[in-house]
Symmetry: C2
Subunit: 354 residues, 2 copies
């Protein structure tokens, strides 16, 4: 089995290095047999290769069993043209790997519940799983662009578009996941004002009725979902969304937990194809290169790779337990109220694993 | 001066009735001279007239000085075709009145700070003003609709579109408002993945540079805004958004305050044209007709109408103070932890006014 690392920008390289150490340890001590390679990505690739994702790197990603990304972006690339930005590389990677289902847990670590801006009773035990559509919708729809209308006026356009099959394949992932949890899926859209949202709602309901009658499916308008996440987040189990609503609502939910630096994500395609794993947090340019970043989200993304792409759910469980144990023992980076650096936090997880 | 009431559906009629009482009191006792009329709107109009907004009602709205809406929608109309739904009436009213700037305060009433799911220190004193674009973007863009692709597949499309002048006129409202507050505006978009968001960002910045150099303007990605609202909401003063992001982010912010049943909104067009005022809360079908709804959001919407459309900022101040006084004296409906009914809460505000 092969794992491609794409450390990317900002704190990406630092946190990814700790996951790499972990793979080394698992290879040596836990019967894992994964070979690791690494490639430039995002701003780092723009600087070296002129584009955020070279065709070679995409080919490498598709030929791997799993891809672990660090983070992309930073102020130094924000003035580039659209297709020359780090973010364009990430979108091209997601599209090229056809990873249409983005799993984003919003999990509150018991040891960190007090770090939330919400009262403890609202977040303790919180465990929401977002399933966000990742390769369609307004991120990719055509026509798009900015046109000059003359007379000093410009016009900016993007297109929100979904087909039945795009909706059904991601809804299926949500239903399958929910079946292993509490069996509840809440689908969020704006079907009251957007036809694409109405199609979303109808297709999700039809799939549920035809193939997942045991799933408890509800529909909620996206604005109300944004409210309900604040009001009483524990009402949710699996939340199914399109690309744009998922971007916003899953970030809101992640911040509710107070554990942002701890949250991983997985992007999955059809069975047997490689998955793309990345921390929820961004490149955090303000602390990049200082050895301060929390590596846990990257390490937990590696755990998801072990579970969903590398056939080692047993080791995924062990890694997740090791992170929890390290926290229980008091290991904390700055973002979660401690003083450990990136490497020391990696040490703490390795020690808990051993 | 004339005020048109559109009580609408659900709890709309109950809460609007209390605002009507208030106008009567102000006419009799405070030198106000506003004549009130009322029309059917939303589901109520669908049932009686077959459409959610008749041409006559729209004409009446445009001929008034201000329109006070209650709420629209309910499960009984959710199965209707798109253009026959209560929501379609609301969109047609906004578009017809050309009220492009939606002011939505997220204000935490001191007496209610403990009703928030957030810790008191995060919300006490919170005072954010959203300026949401209301007559453009993906709510109105063409092409839109659901088409049949044959082979069992359908395709749903909506178009996010903005022109320079649509962006500039709403940004101007945000800058003017900010100048009377702390002078800070944060503009939220997804300029990293959407060209319409990039145009938004560029036009907002250009207007600031050309005409509002004293305004402290920042830009924030909408997903990050959703996070920052949870993390530390007091960092914001005025938040400027497009129609869709504003819908979601302002609802998130409203719920942070714990005062949802207390929050009004104003939708304004060009100077001199009538404004549209409505509570943030919806039609709440579950408690409709029971006399339980909190009338304060409607009463405070009336206060905004007094300030922005009826040239009586002095009375607006008095009404707002009366609501605060009623709260301080312990008046509470069920949604904010009390036992008063709608009329009794209206009594409490009237008593505080007198
Ligand atoms: C970096 C950006 C393109 C990306 C997105 O909007 O999808 C990010 O916000 C995310 O959620 O992974
Ligand atoms: C009822 C609906 C059409 C409306 C919207 O989405 O604008 C509502 O959510 C609001 O925010 O006023």
């Amino acid at each position: 089995k092969t794992l491609l690392l794409l450390p990317g920008d900002g704190i990406g390289p630092e946190v990814t290095a700790q996951s790499r150490r972990l793979v080394g340890w698992l290879n040596a001590n836990a019967g894992l047999d994964v070979s690791v390679c690494e490639a430039r990505f995002g701003g780092a690739a723009i600087d070296a290769d002129g584009v955020p994702l070279t065709p070679e790197t995409l080919a490498l990603a598709k030929a791997s069993d799993a891809v672990l990304m660090g983070a992309v972006g930073g102020p130094q690339w924000a003035k580039q043209s659209y297709d020359k930005r780090p973010e364009a590389g990430l979108l091209a990677l997601r599209a090229g790997m056809e990873v249409f289902a983005n799993l984003r847990p919003a999990l509150c670590f018991a040891a960190l519940a007090d770090a939330s801006s919400l009262k403890r009773e609202f977040v303790e035990g919180l465990d929401i799983m977002f399933v966000r559509e990742l390769t369609g919708g307004v991120y990719f729809g055509e026509p798009r662009g900015i046109s000059d209308l003359g007379n000093g006026e410009r016009r900016g356009v993007n297109t929100q578009v979904y087909t039945s099959s795009e909706i059904r394949r991601v809804a299926r992932v949500a239903f399958e996941l929910a079946a292993k949890r509490t069996g509840r899926v809440c689908s969020a859209e704006k079907s009251n004002v957007m036809e694409s949202g109405l199609l979303w709602r109808e297709e999700v309901q039809a799939l549920r009725d035809a193939e997942y009658p045991h799933i408890d499916l509800s529909h909620m308008l996206a604005d109300n979902t944004a409210m309900q996440l604040v009001k009483y987040p524990k009402q949710f189990d699996v939340i199914l969304t399109d690309n744009l609503f998922g971007d916003i609502l899953s970030d809101e939910a992640a911040m509710l937990t107070g554990s942002l630096g701890m949250l991983p994500s997985a992007a999955l395609g059809v069975k047997g194809m490689p998955g793309l794993y990345e921390p929820i947090h961004g490149s955090a340019p303000d602390i990049a290169g200082k050895g301060l970043a929390n590596p846990c989200a990257s390490i937990l993304s590696l755990a998801l790779a072990l579970r969903y792409s590398l056939d080692r759910g047993d080791l995924a469980d062990r890694v997740e337990k090791a992170v929890a144990t390290a926290l229980d023992r008091g290991a904390r980076t700055g973002d979660i109220g401690g003083t450990l650096g990136t490497v020391a936090m990696g040490d703490a997880v390795l020690a808990a694993l051993a």
